[in-house]
């Protein structure tokens, strides 16, 4: 009999399941939320309850829980019991992961799929293939929150230098595919600044220079990318670098395109200019310049206020109330 045909037959109709007593859903009261089932799901769920009640942990339980999970990947009791059964049977976990590879791709957005992998890999202690799997599933869904946080967990949990070393190239590839992938930018910060100091990166000044170079390049290509600007601020905040250090770089982004940009001349690698096709001024650049002026204080507060006014009234009107708040705050600083 073909496998597909076998799987469409109800458990109730299979002689090898005759020894199990299926338990129907609790229906003693008239609930506010009555349940109607399809036969197939009801059948599997009834037999699942029967198995759990009997405390059985056998290979056929794996078949049953797989069936339930495929119909309802959020059924966390089925996942839980499956894991317990795998442990009781000492099942080959690489086989389990391989099966999960297929299910995960179909059901990327459920928490359970990822937690199950976490439990398994905690047993196998073999994180390398997991990172490869994560990379593959990110191709289908580049910003999947569970997938990225699973990757962060693996790196932190196993804390293996070889794994960490491969991360920067991985993140760069993801950013090359989509410069606006906020998850990738976040991951970059996590890898570079929140994972301790690894071999080769001991010169922190060099690391900061490298990261600033990278983010400036990205901004020049896509000046209206919020993630890149957040990353820039993150680097500066984390390392206590004053925003004013970036003034020369940021300034051209805070005004409309100028003739100077198009003039031939020496390319300043430290201060890449906005790409010609980009829309200027970039709101984030205006904000950045305003922050610099605000920090300078004194007469510069007027300059900051002018920029905030331009944001409130022209460039970022949806956040008018926020920009008016910044103006008020600055005025208070002047008067006190």
């Amino acid at each position: 009999m073909a496998i597909e045909e076998e799987q469409s037959i109800l458990f109730a109709e299979r002689p090898e399941w005759a020894d199990v007593t299926p338990l129907a859903q609790y229906e003693n009261i008239n609930p506010v939320a009555p349940i109607f089932y399809t036969n197939e799901y009801k059948d599997a769920a009834d037999y699942f309850r029967g198995i759990v009640n009997a405390g059985e942990m056998s290979p056929r339980v794996l078949e049953l829980t797989e069936k339930i999970i495929r119909m309802n990947p959020a059924h966390y009791s089925a996942w839980q019991y499956r894991y317990k059964t795998l442990m009781a049977l000492k099942s080959p976990l690489d086989v389990e992961l391989h099966l999960m590879d297929e299910i995960a791709v179909k059901y990327l957005k459920t928490y359970q799929v990822w937690h199950h992998r976490r439990l398994i890999v905690t047993q196998t202690r073999n994180p390398g293939p997991e990172l490869a799997f994560i990379a593959k599933s990110l191709q289908a869904d580049t910003k999947n929150y569970h997938t990225w946080s699973y990757r962060q967990w693996i790196l932190a949990y196993f804390n293996d230098d070889e794994l960490w070393d491969a991360e920067l190239p991985f993140v760069e590839e993801m950013l090359e595919n989509d410069l606006r992938n906020n998850s990738a930018w976040h991951h970059r910060f996590f890898v570079v600044f929140q994972a301790g100091v690894r071999k080769g990166d001991e010169d922190r000044d060099e690391v900061i220079r490298r990261e600033l170079g990278f983010v400036k390049q990205s901004i020049s290509v896509a000046p209206n990318n919020a993630s890149a600007w957040n990353y820039l601020r993150g680097i500066l905040d984390h390392n206590g670098t004053p925003y004013s250090d970036l003034q020369t770089f940021v300034n051209p982004y805070s005004v409309p395109h100028t003739l100077e940009e198009t003039a031939e001349g020496v390319v300043d690698l430290e201060n890449p200019l906005p790409s010609k096709e980009s829309h200027l001024p970039a709101v984030a650049a205006i904000e950045f310049m305003a922050d610099i002026y605000e920090k300078e204080g004194g007469d510069s507060l007027m300059k900051a206020t002018e920029l905030w006014k331009s944001l409130a009234n022209e460039h970022d009107t949806i956040r008018k109330k926020y920009w008016e708040y910044r103006i008020r705050e600055a005025c208070q600083k002047v008067t006190t």
Binding site: A33, S149, F193
Partner: protein, 326 residues
């Protein structure tokens, strides 16, 4: 026009109809969410001023039928194992219906506290999935049960601190990306614990108001799509930080209203999509915080009717927009 008015009678009948759903497959597939769904439906009804649209006694009976006596907490559906998610929803439903006396508070508090991990985060159940959502749930539930004093606050707060990112936002687990929903759970939990000092209010407030897109809707993180439920996660966080005015209220209101189904009622994640009770609840909740006329006040920290939380002495220093008369 769907985007000019909140169609309250339609939404009320939509929620009432959920108990009579003929859509078999979708309905049974969400059994694991049933307790949550009832809480969402009930809270939305309360905010729309129609608390009695669903039968109180039936609802309480259902909640109690989900009691998992082995674990000492509530499952999502009769004979589902207890989980922290359904336990909070059960408590919230009972509190809303003034029936908390039916709960074995000792056992539930014990269940919740037993889920705290060495790192300070809470698991959802014995399966061990961890998430700052569960930490919020634990704090919220213990607070409603009057057992917050039994919580190791420092330990709990320490994990939130670990989840704070370079952009001022919070993630689901240590090292995870900032996300509006995770920001809400961390900020609301810290509010209950009187530890908003852990939040960089200016930076986070700015990050939150940056979630608003030109169409007026809010997203969960930079460069992602708008979704009605983020209206609540973002708005409630801002109201807790006393910065709710930083959102363009008129545009957001229009966006939420345009996601209504003018025929069968209910609200979807964005205009044109299928409605569900989750987005209906969070759309209505957001409108309440925005001061939409005719709605009941919502407490953004607990996501429950404000007067109930106030009567329990649990109100924190949040600020919503004033209720408009028209």
């Amino acid at each position: 026009m769907a985007d000019s008015q909140l169609l309250i009678p339609l939404h009320v009948s939509y929620i009432k109809s959920l108990g009579e759903s003929k859509d078999d497959l979708a309905y049974h597939m969400t059994a694991h969410l049933r307790m949550n769904a009832i809480y969402w439906g009930l809270t939305a009804l309360c905010i729309m001023g129609h608390k009695d649209a669903l039968d109180r006694a039936e609802m309480i009976d259902f909640v109690m039928s989900c009691w998992d006596d082995e674990a000492g907490a509530f499952g999502a559906h009769p004979d589902h194992d207890a989980h922290i998610l359904s336990t909070l929803s059960a408590i919230q439903i009972l509190v809303t219906h003034d029936a908390l006396d039916k709960v074995d508070v000792d056992r539930v508090a014990k269940f919740i506290l037993s889920l705290q991990q060495p790192s300070g985060v809470f698991a959802g159940d014995s399966w061990g999935e961890i998430d700052t959502r569960f930490s919020y749930i634990a704090v919220n539930a213990l607070s409603l049960l009057g057992r917050l004093s039994e919580l190791d606050v420092e330990k709990t707060v320490a994990y939130f601190r670990q989840c704070r990112n370079f952009d001022g936002g919070f993630g689901a687990t240590a090292g995870a990306e900032s996300h509006s929903a995770q920001v809400f759970v961390c900020v609301a939990a810290l509010a209950i614990l009187d530890r908003l000092d852990e939040v960089d209010s200016d930076a986070l407030g700015w990050w939150l108001c940056e979630r608003q897109l030109p169409n007026g809707g809010l997203n969960g993180r930079p460069e992602k799509l708008e979704d009605v439920c983020y209206s609540f996660w973002v708005l409630s966080s801002l109201s807790i930080l006393n910065k709710i005015t930083w959102i363009d209220a008129e545009k957001l209101t229009k966006f939420i209203l345009s996601a209504q189904d003018p025929e069968q009622g209910g609200i979807a994640d964005r205009p044109g999509d299928m409605v569900d009770v989750f987005h209906t609840q969070f759309g209505v909740a957001a409108l309440s915080l925005l001061g939409y006329p005719g709605l009941v006040d919502l407490d953004p920290v607990y996501c429950m009717p404000a007067d109930i939380i106030e009567r329990m002495g649990l109100r924190k220093g949040w600020k919503a927009l004033d209720r408009r008369s028209v």
